[in-house]
Symmetry: C2
Subunit: 208 residues, 2 copies
Amino acid sequence: MIKFELMTNYSSDTEGKILEAAKKVFIEKGLEGTRMQEIANEAKINKALLHYYYRTKEKLFNAVFQFAITRFIPHIEGIFNSDKNFFEILEAIIEQYITLISKNPFIPIFVLHEINRHPDRLADIIKSAGIQPKILIEKIEKEVEKGTIRPVSALNLIVNIISLCVFPFAARPLIQRLLFDNDKHAYTTFIQSRKTEVTSFIINAIKI
Amino acid sequence: MIKFELMTNYSSDTEGKILEAAKKVFIEKGLEGTRMQEIANEAKINKALLHYYYRTKEKLFNAVFQFAITRFIPHIEGIFNSDKNFFEILEAIIEQYITLISKNPFIPIFVLHEINRHPDRLADIIKSAGIQPKILIEKIEKEVEKGTIRPVSALNLIVNIISLCVFPFAARPLIQRLLFDNDKHAYTTFIQSRKTEVTSFIINAIKI
DNA sequence: ATTTAGTTTAACCAAACGGTTAAAATTAAA
DNA sequence: TTTAATTTTAACCGTTTGGTTAAACTAAAT
């Protein structure tokens, strides 16, 4: 809830408890699959208290969605501002990406579904997340010119990287059941192995 | 609606109209985002008529979901039973896959979201779709033994193929907006180009 | 001790929802 | 033309849903 900074606040961390409960339920069930009562139960508070802190379901959802975006888009500026060569940059991006999603494995399907339902939400995302595909595009094109890598289309390569990192999370139940006989541990081990597997797969695909 | 085969049927194709309307709405909005009234409007019939043909929302949804599965999983038996070599098989699978999803581009996010909500639905899927990953796994492992391709993990390769084919559809609004300035035509052209791009990407990644 | 502001609750509300019912309309057969 | 079966409709119903209200409670400031 928006407050003046000097305003007294003698509640326990109810607002935080609500947001945590909302994250859990919304990310699992989506906007339309979520009941305000369930969030209240999860936070162990009265339902009216939800509306006291976040006036509407939509406002509470927006808070969760904005959080989800930060766990969906990796920040790769730091990687670019290092003395890594292109292959090392790729390796770092992929490892960071899979690590990020591993910490919140239900985020991809949640974000993709909600964007699909209301593509207009993208406007906020682009502002708040400050995504810059240009940097990566130009880097790839420069490497192609230099002859370090095959003449691949930059956009295709970017989409390939994201696909290989994100899709296995969005398709978790399918993959776990069909390829790992519903063995949860086998699936998570597989995901972790992909940090190196995906990296070498991509590098083999583009190196001369 | 289930009927005895000899039973007279003097309606126009109301049942078909309902199913088509249900496909459109359910696949766009998901089970929980769909209102029975909206399906009735789409089919230009009375809402009670929905319940006359498909007794409950869930039964109607199941009909749509089962259809969606057939448009999500490609049938690759024919490709295997040809005299193609491994790379030609890969090429055929990828082209068939992207072509299949192109015809129903909203199916992936719909299916993935609904499976995520209710993983138990997978039981029906596996039965009705008769998926056989073993065939592909054994084929890949045999090629590795023969030395035709690098020693890649079969499961990783399979997940990579599916990821590269399916993810760009699930992430359409993101990709179209971020990489193609919301140009619909540029996006669809890009998708079509991937039939060959993904094929050569994968072949480069695994060939010796 | 009283006032003031912020917090929490129980009870309530109107709208929307999936689903039902009984009657009317249509169709094909007798 | 009557009959029987199927199809379609309008009106209705109980429940669930997001949201409100007014009162009770708590804690700090005067």
